[in-house]
């Protein structure tokens, strides 16, 4: 263990220690004010602790943590977002008597969210992944309305399903490892030659796909983000979802060309990218629109990873990490913007909310010179110029369209009183995040990614980033014309149908099994079964072996 390793330990230990402190009700009431402190060691670890490793001493359970470059990227921006959202949440919780419960779920999710970026072995990864996935349930259902509870249940059902896939994948992966190691690195190294390669890849893509909301697992996103309170929605959409991204980065064998699988992931990703836009523009709630934008953006990430997987491009990991880092900042910021807009009077809406939001939104679409443009530039390498590249540009156009739609919805969601002002404790985190959306990607681009300014200002790059936005803008004008005639898709689109169908099926199965139970629990039937078991066992053993 080294100094960097100690930082990693501190990054996990502080939120967990605060969680323990919550056991005392006196400390729990003080905790909301301290939320922003919890992720600070994580930020420090991201800045200083790269390359550090931490192995919990040979206790009973072997947990190992380490920090590599993509992990550090994501950890840093996630910590930044958690800090900003923490400040926002502290202010938001101020008047709530029962803030303690929210704080507990918050800290649990936070610990998991930090943990996934640094977990180095299968067990600790699964542990922190479950933490971030399941604790988020508590944040989603925070307001306790039946609608929130229903949405929370759909979320948790999909999360658990995803975890079941992952557990199976991990178990299969663990089989291949020689000796006692359960390190992810060792496990993935054996994947290309594993006899269960196909099953493992399917399970991984399904498991992490459920987390990042690849269609058709996307249904939880709009439902959950809409139900969650603003600060929670910000961290869930920004930071928590990246657990799936880091999972794909860590577990897909990006160093080895895996044709077939890569293409499949590309198709799934592109479909999500356009599907998110198509449904998103029919939505009216700005939070829902943002959720569909996340579906679309995660589709883009899936596409990039798929391209990397297809050709065996190990560098795709870092590119995706960078892209995801920008998305973390931007999406987190925009959710905070929704919250700020709701309490800002129409008169101040432009300077405080809409102007910065426009910059951030255009960044998501990759408008030239924004952080988003850098992100798109970086992922251009694995994506290439082929047909997929074209599709990616088209998806940027789609994103522009969707984000302009979002801005329109944001503009009409201002507070009732035209002159009401926002408390600084709510506005500042948002504005700081908006600033970070521009500054941080540049800083990363120039340092970690070793990028040059010349590449960014090259004419081809500028034009390549600009025309999709132009196209998107044109489409947006078109959308305003036909806007009223779009079908109204319920949030969570297919969720309603699927849930209804699943419920009906489950109920039918339940009734069936209940009837069977009544039959089986009758004495004569059970008695016959008892003797029958003995007879069958005898027969099997007589004929067996």
């Amino acid at each position: 263990m080294n100094a960097a390793g100690t930082l990693l330990g501190a990054a996990l230990a502080l939120p967990l220690a605060m969680l323990l402190a919550c056991l005392s009700s006196r400390l729990r009431t003080k905790m909301p004010a301290l939320l922003a402190i919890a992720p600070v060691p994580a930020l420090a670890a991201a800045l200083l602790g790269s390359g550090g490793t931490l192995a919990l001493p040979q206790m009973l359970l072997l947990l190992r943590f380490t920090l590599d470059v993509p992990g550090a990227l994501l950890l840093g921006v996630a910590a930044l977002l958690w800090i900003a959202a923490g400040i926002y949440a502290s202010a938001w919780l101020q008047d709530r008597p029962d803030g303690g419960r929210f704080v507990v779920w918050w800290l649990l999710t936070l610990s998991g969210s930090i943990g996934v970026f640094i977990a180095a072995d299968l067990v600790s990864f699964y542990l922190v992944f479950s933490m971030v996935s399941l604790a988020a349930y508590g944040l989603i259902v925070d307001d306790g309305t039946p609608r929130a509870r229903r949405n929370g249940l759909i979320y948790v059902a999909l999360a658990l399903l995803g975890e079941a896939f992952l557990l199976m994948a991990f178990v299969l992966l663990a089989q291949g490892i020689a000796g006692d190691s359960l390190l992810i690195r060792d496990a993935v190294a054996t994947l290309p030659t594993s006899p269960w390669r196909a099953s493992i890849l399917i399970l991984l893509i399904l498991g992490f796909g459920a987390k990042i909301g690849l269609v058709p697992f996307h249904v939880w996103m709009p439902l959950a983000y809409r139900a969650a309170p603003i600060p929670a929605a910000a961290v869930l959409s920004g930071a928590a979802v990246k657990a799936g991204v880091i999972g794909l980065i860590r577990f897909l064998p990006l160093n080895v060309a895996t044709p077939g699988w890569g293409e499949a992931l590309v198709v799934a990703g592109l479909f999500s990218a356009f599907y998110g836009v198509a449904i998103g523009i029919t939505q009216r709630n700005p939070k829902t629109v943002l959720a569909y934008s996340s579906v679309s953006q995660m589709g883009v990430i899936g596409t990039v990873l798929g391209m990397g997987l297809a050709v065996g491009d190990g560098d795709a990991a870092l590119s995706v990490g960078f892209y995801a880092a920008h998305h973390t900042l931007a999406k987190g910021a925009l959710f905070l913007a929704v919250g700020v807009a709701q309490i800002t009077g129409a008169r101040r809406l432009w300077p405080v909310v809409l102007l910065p939001a426009t910059i951030v939104s255009l960044g998501l679409a990759g408008f030239p010179l924004t952080g988003g443009a850098l992100a798109k530039l970086v992922v251009k390498v694995p994506v290439g110029d082929g047909i997929v590249g074209t599709f990616m540009s088209l998806s940027s156009a789609g994103t522009t369209l969707l984000m302009l739609h979002f801005l329109c919805r944001l503009a009409v969601s201002s507070a009732a009183s035209a002159t009401s002002t926002v408390p600084a404790r709510l506005a500042l985190p948002w504005l700081a995040m908006a600033l970070a959306c521009v500054v941080v990607p540049w800083a990363i681009y120039l340092t970690v990614m070793d990028g040059s300014i010349a590449d960014v200002v090259a004419r081809a790059t500028l034009w390549g980033a600009f025309w999709p936005c132009l196209l998107g803008g044109a489409l947006a004008i078109g959308l305003r014309r036909v806007g009223g005639r779009l079908p109204r898709v319920p949030d969570g689109d297919i969720a309603g149908v699927v849930v209804a169908g699943a419920t009906r099926f489950a109920r039918a199965m339940g009734v069936l099994l209940e009837r069977l139970d009544e039959v089986l629990r009758q004495w004569p039937v059970a008695g016959v079964a008892l003797v029958g078991v003995a007879v069958v066992l005898t027969a099997l053993m007589l004929t067996g072996r």
Binding site: L167, E514, A526
Partner: protein
């Protein structure tokens, strides 16, 4: 050996002195028993050899031996811990009212608690098939009156069903014992394992004994007696029955299969047991999802969780002994996983039943629909229930997770992947029924709940402590346990590749 004798002496003393003394004797016996169990475990852990004890100095086959191996030590410690918790929990519910010398329920509860405990320890340590029969009857006779302790008609009917079905099971077991004696002239497990040959009498005996014992374990489809019995008993008794009593007969099946006829394990039959286990998981979980009462839900969940235990048979019996020794390693993993499931379910289920008992006591009912907002009033209890539920779902970090992960790994490694599907599906269904309880419990209510009776934080603390034990079991490493290997035939020390 002392482990059996102390609770047995407790029964005798409590019966003689009666009244208020029963509770004190039980608690004193509980702490003494815990120390003894820990001492035995420590001894085995250090010496790495099983302890054998010839009663009265008469060696088998004429005499009776008690044998403590890793499995018995683990089970004895688990039993002692759970019984101590139950004892502390029950102090309030089963104390003699002021002014009376002796009351029915406390007297019966405390004596039977010790009787069951004596039976359990006899099952864990017994090495003679007939002694084990008497131990089984000790369990049954202790458990049945606990079911009908409150004397309502439906609990009486449940107790009667339980007793009669258990008696059928014991009769079949005893018949198997007779056949073994008739064929080999001894009932000592270790001696028998050296004598048994592949012949019909062994098959019939094993089949009869297995069937009889799974009737007592309530494996699907022989579970008719369990839901009403476990749901009807008082909470402390339900915890005892669900956590420990059904495990007694299960461990006996393990003793027969893996210790008595280790050389004759039959894969087809093992697969059939596991198939029944798989059916139990699906069936028990779905029915748990459909219950309207909390205790019935937990009872059906016991049926499901018992199902997991039966995966032990195909997974730990190693069909193909490949040259490299890999299979041996994986059977060791399956062993540890199976036993860990045994232990973690015992601890988690005891905590859940007692939590449910506290909730029912506080509310005056245990309808799931009426649990709204209970978490505000009994946060520790609901938290304990949730922790227990985590273990049932197999979420990390919990004993249930490690157990299921190990079973999964063994299933896949041994090429029996079909069981892994059931294990995962069972986890999802378990999540379903745990959330069904937690969702209303955590929900906000407008009207403040009025409790029928206040619940002491001490009892909540006991439940929570037990639930935390279930969680701490998750810190067990994912590899074959050394303690369990003591006295096992499987050479688990061979490291793969």
């Amino acid at each position: 050996m002392l482990a059996i004798a102390v609770p047995a002496a407790g029964v005798v003393l409590a019966m003689a002195l009666g009244g208020r003394q029963a509770e004190r004797i039980a608690l004193a016996a509980a702490s003494a028993g815990l120390c003894i169990a820990l001492a035995i475990a420590a001894n085995i852990w250090q010496s790495r050899t099983p302890i054998a004890y010839h009663l009265g100095g008469w060696a088998p086959p004429l005499g009776i031996a008690l044998r403590a191996d890793g499995l018995s030590a683990i089970m004895a410690v688990t039993t002692a811990v759970v019984i101590c918790a139950i004892g502390l929990f029950a102090r309030q519910g089963f104390s003699v009212p002021e002014g009376a010398q002796e009351a029915r329920a406390p007297m019966v509860f405390w004596t039977l608690l010790m009787g069951v405990w004596a039976g359990l320890n006899a099952v864990w340590f017994g090495a003679d098939l007939f002694t084990l029969y008497v131990a089984l009857e000790l369990l049954t006779f202790g458990a049945v009156p606990l079911v009908s302790l409150d004397g309502r008609a439906e609990t009486l009917a449940a107790a009667l069903r339980y007793l009669l079905f258990a008696l059928l099971g014991s009769a079949m077991y005893l018949l198997g014992v007779a056949l073994f004696y008739g064929a080999y002239g001894t009932l000592d497990i270790a001696l028998l394992s050296g004598l048994v040959r592949a012949e019909p009498v062994v098959w019939v005996a094993v089949a009869l004994m297995t069937a009889g014992l799974i009737a007592k374990t309530a494996l699907f489809p022989l579970h008719l007696w369990l839901p009403p019995a476990h749901a009807g008993a008082p909470a402390a008794a339900s915890a005892l029955l669900s956590a420990l009593v059904v495990k007694g007969s299960f461990v006996l099946i393990v003793r027969i299969w893996f210790d008595t006829i280790p050389s004759l394990l039959n894969q087809a039959a093992a697969q059939m047991l596991a198939a029944l286990g798989a059916a139990a998981i699906v069936f028990g979980s779905v029915l748990a999802l459909r219950q309207e009462r909390l205790k019935l839900l937990i009872a059906y969940s016991t049926i499901a969780q018992i199902g997991y235990l039966f995966f032990l048979f195909p997974l730990a019996s190693a069909p193909l002994r490949v040259a490299s020794g890999t299979t041996e390693l994986w059977t060791g993993v399956a062993w540890t996983g199976g036993v860990l499931q045994l232990v973690s379910h015992a601890v988690a289920k005891a905590a859940m039943f007692m939590a449910a008992g506290l909730i029912a006591e506080a509310l005056g009912h245990d309808r799931i629909a009426g649990l709204g907002g209970i978490a505000r009033v009994l946060p520790m209890t609901v938290f304990a229930f949730g922790l227990g539920g985590m273990s049932l779902m197999g979420l990390p970090p919990s004993g249930g997770f490690v157990a299921k992960a190990m079973l999964l790994m063994a299933a896949v490694a041994e090429g029996q992947w079909w069981w892994s599907v059931v294990i995962l599906a069972g986890g999802l269904l378990a999540a379903g029924y745990v959330f069904r309880v937690l969702t209303p419990a955590l929900a906000a209510t407008d009207a403040p709940l009025t409790l029928r009776t206040p619940v002491s934080s001490g009892r909540q603390g006991v439940v929570l402590a037990l639930a935390i034990c279930a969680l701490l079991l998750g810190l067990v490493p994912l590899r074959p346990s050394l303690l369990l290997e003591v006295g096992r035939h499987i050479p688990t020390t061979v490291i793969a590749r």
